[in-house]
Symmetry: C2
Subunit: 656 residues, 2 copies
Amino acid sequence: MTTSAPTGTKKVSIEFRPHDKVTRVPSGMTIFNAANWIGLPIDSTCGAKGTCGKCKVRILRGNNGATAADRRIFTEEELAEGWRLSCRSEATSDVVCHVPRLMGNPKAALMGFDRHVILNANVYKIPLTLTPPTLEDQRSDYSRIRDALEPEGYAIDASLNLVRGLPGVLRRSQWQVTAVVVGNELVSVEEGDTSDRVYGLAFDIGTTTVVGMLIDLNSGAPVAVRSTLNGQAVQGADVISRISYTMLNEDGLSELNEVILRTLNSLISQLLEEGRVAPHEVYEVVTAGNATMQHLLLGVDPEAIGLEPFIPAVEDMVQASAQEVGLEILPQAQVHCLPYLGAYVGADLVAGLLATGLAQNEGVRLLVDVGTNGEIILGSAARTVATAAPAGPAFEGAQIQDGMRASEGAIEAVTITQTGIDLQVIGDVPPIGLCGSGLLDAVAQLRLSGLMLPSGRFVKADEASEIVAPDLARRIITDEEGRRSFVLAWPEESGGEKAIVLTQRDVRELQFAKGSIAGGIDVVMQELGIEDEDLVEIFLAGSFGSYINPQSARIIGLVPPVPVDRIKAVGNAAGEGAKIALLSFRERMVARSLPEIVEYHELSGRGDFNDSFLAVLQFPELDTIGLDPAGLDPTGLDSDGPDTVGLDTRAVADTV
Amino acid sequence: MTTSAPTGTKKVSIEFRPHDKVTRVPSGMTIFNAANWIGLPIDSTCGAKGTCGKCKVRILRGNNGATAADRRIFTEEELAEGWRLSCRSEATSDVVCHVPRLMGNPKAALMGFDRHVILNANVYKIPLTLTPPTLEDQRSDYSRIRDALEPEGYAIDASLNLVRGLPGVLRRSQWQVTAVVVGNELVSVEEGDTSDRVYGLAFDIGTTTVVGMLIDLNSGAPVAVRSTLNGQAVQGADVISRISYTMLNEDGLSELNEVILRTLNSLISQLLEEGRVAPHEVYEVVTAGNATMQHLLLGVDPEAIGLEPFIPAVEDMVQASAQEVGLEILPQAQVHCLPYLGAYVGADLVAGLLATGLAQNEGVRLLVDVGTNGEIILGSAARTVATAAPAGPAFEGAQIQDGMRASEGAIEAVTITQTGIDLQVIGDVPPIGLCGSGLLDAVAQLRLSGLMLPSGRFVKADEASEIVAPDLARRIITDEEGRRSFVLAWPEESGGEKAIVLTQRDVRELQFAKGSIAGGIDVVMQELGIEDEDLVEIFLAGSFGSYINPQSARIIGLVPPVPVDRIKAVGNAAGEGAKIALLSFRERMVARSLPEIVEYHELSGRGDFNDSFLAVLQFPELDTIGLDPAGLDPTGLDSDGPDTVGLDTRAVADTV
């Protein structure tokens, strides 16, 4: 396992000529990496290991120290002229440098969300014709390979496992082999020329769902994509219950570790079968998951993540072999777990940053992963901050009277028209419950209709009939204790035997959940001094975020009220980011820099968060977010005007 | 696993001031290592990893490039003045440097054969009082340890295994721990201050016998020493039959791997019990064994070692974790297999070089490991050459009519007096056979007595009675086909029912065995241009070499005829060398340099070896080696003068 070394937080500026690009990066970042940061593809074929010699730049100002690698590559004269390997040259002061050559026609692809990614995987296949040994040349098998790779620009290391197979392969192949190098590790030596077959795996390991992608590293094309439920669901629906499970059960940790390995290995076997790829042809794996998921995958105790002050065992880029981790591919394959920004802003968000380019671009953007734990990142290339807000399980449909997970029979979208209600149900069957996105829609539509006040209270039944058609008004019901609910489906409309209702208490749950996230967003916006109108884009990420209706999110005040076309559901951003990190070691180096670049703010115990939370518990007045009150549908519906009943937040807090 | 990188064979000279010491080393060796080579202990506490900053020297001439490590440690002004870390500064041209400080009172011990060894193990225990995490300081457990070790001069890496245990240890210990660093690997984190308990294991893995030593790395003292038979004896007595076993049996390799692991783990368990040391308190292991034994230990196929052109899978210093290898100690403990000089000059000889200092001292010395395979190293600090000579199994008592292994009942020493014969028998029981050292003695004594001619032929019975007393002369017997033998023990003197005899054919076997080794010695002496009188010392090593009577070795011409007090049996030189490498990382670095410093000459197919072999098949004339012919015992015995019957080597070759 290797992890990145920490560097200082001082920033330095690096100017690249003749491209006239300037970037500010933390002191200690290499010039090569700083160029990757702004998408300037300096050539390199050794994975920035200082061995191929292609990434040379001439330093015109700053940073004039030569490294051992420089001395191997350059003459004394060239060193005196300022030539350096950019991948070894760490900028500790402002630097101006001349880049003589960028990658010629780099293979690139549009990936993630409008990201132009240079395809440059970290797996290299090098066909070798070795000189057979003689009595005059008795170098060992390993030295023979190592010596043959050196002029190709690779300085390798190898595991005992690799060496164990070496004598057989070299002799069976009659010294015609393909060496497979990942980073500086020789992970495989194969008979003959196998350079046309190079595969990797990218995993988004969600608490609920795991997505696996088998990628052809030559072409960049996904060969097979599969998703499955995280088998750990049995041991708890969310991160906290998984952590509790490891604390309450003696073998809980190894049990959860085995379960996630079973989940991944089963996905791997399906992916390989579909793609007709052999296990030994998979040389690298990148995972993106929250800290708890990655700890459980690695078999590391996550207990301290669950307790204040919320400490992971390891936060940097973790690298281990497939065998150490327990994945059923080439044992020496390298597994990279993307780094975390904090105990509750995991590698899934780091992957999301890669997929959106948020921390690398101009213009302030907001990335929100809506779930039990709301993860929030706000910023641009200038500065990026992150936080995590505990939202509770409402978005997962839990703690909601008729709530359910987003599976067959769940109401996933709701439209309230002037006269009735349209439900969109997963699987096109009669509804049996309400999942998170349906909950959000229902509340948003009720707000639009005027049937719900900004405080979250339903209007009284008699008031309702003044606002909407009788059939709709009748759906507001009151129980014997005076508690109001809204009937989404009468018994005869539902797939069960009883009505599906949205209770006043359900609405309160949602208010707490959205209040927490909106409060977190408020804190980071204040931190950066950003107003709503400064936001170029809002990305809704995560397995839940992707299904949210952006307009609904806006109506309930989950996100700032920017024009709705700036709010984008980015689907499986974590998976996209993991794929990008797998296909481009340049982007992976960017990911590796993110924890030192993104400022993490812990909300626990912060007074301003509590203030923000209380301030945003109520739903926004419709006119304050540019909507017609009672604007039920695009055609508009007249209403009695905005509801102006104020929300007593204390009263709400007491209610729940 | 890491292995050393190859460097050039050009030599450069390094002068150390103010000590006025100069050494010539291969280009590319670090200045620090060159100092170790000549025993100049430049200070260092980080194991020459460029992190502690204590090994600084000022370069006065040559080598002026600064490395990244230099830039971390020195100011620009100091760099300009020539200050460098000697452990990072590779000498690629002649260098003159000033060493401001040697180790203050280095703990040292006399080890091996008059070697003054600086005790400086590669295992560091660092007690740490960590700052507990807070919401303001949410660094991960691993970062916390790493950051605490950095100011102590350690830049660490860690395995997934280590990280798995980290959260528990830190919290149970309430942040009072001891970090254990081996090289740059954090191998353990222990509760409380455990710095008084640091242990390592040194193994001499012989084909026949395995010796294990448990060493207290704080004091340098052996805590327990045990030896046992190599359990692989069942699968073949020598290297070649072990290799054959792996070729002829489908699971042969894994079977032999399991057997040697069982042997080592059983030794380990005895050593730990005797020393009252827990498995997790053993942090490092050094092994010395021939290439085949080390391949079998590592589970690497040795087949190519057995077939021309005799190629090991790996020859450099191999390093792997105890878990990868399969040793039952701390899983992250580091196992170092010492390097080989060639397929048949193994790490046991490299260890022998450490124990004798042969390649580091002035004065030409010869180290010979006498066995089935004779390993021969000749040289001094100026130049050292090595070769291997296939001697066949005679020295092991095999292919000898009444031969046996050196176990109870074996005649291990023979003295022929004027009137009779004295036998020294292992276990003080009646003799049942003849082991290698007894065979050598018997032939040497027969030569001295005049009963055997330089050609190796026994004199005729009637001639014998003219030379020695009748009781002795009667021991030369002739069978019905006219073949002569010498009776070492009559049936009534033996522990069996029949006589123990030395046949003419037995003598031929010994002649071939000694001829091969003497021929190999001749080749390397010619290579270095050395005459017999130039030899300062001859070391007889290996489990067999230690039991040889130096005088007998000289009489039969196994070794050059230097005065007998210069011939020394050095016992378990391999074990001593492994212990030295365990206790002193400086000496281990010397060991690591040996393969590039010692020139290996393959004898197979060399014409001059065949010539030498034939020239030395006969035994030396006694007067040519400074002995009175028929000088049976120190009192001397008159004889009929030297036997001058010439040897027809072709005739000998035809006989066998």
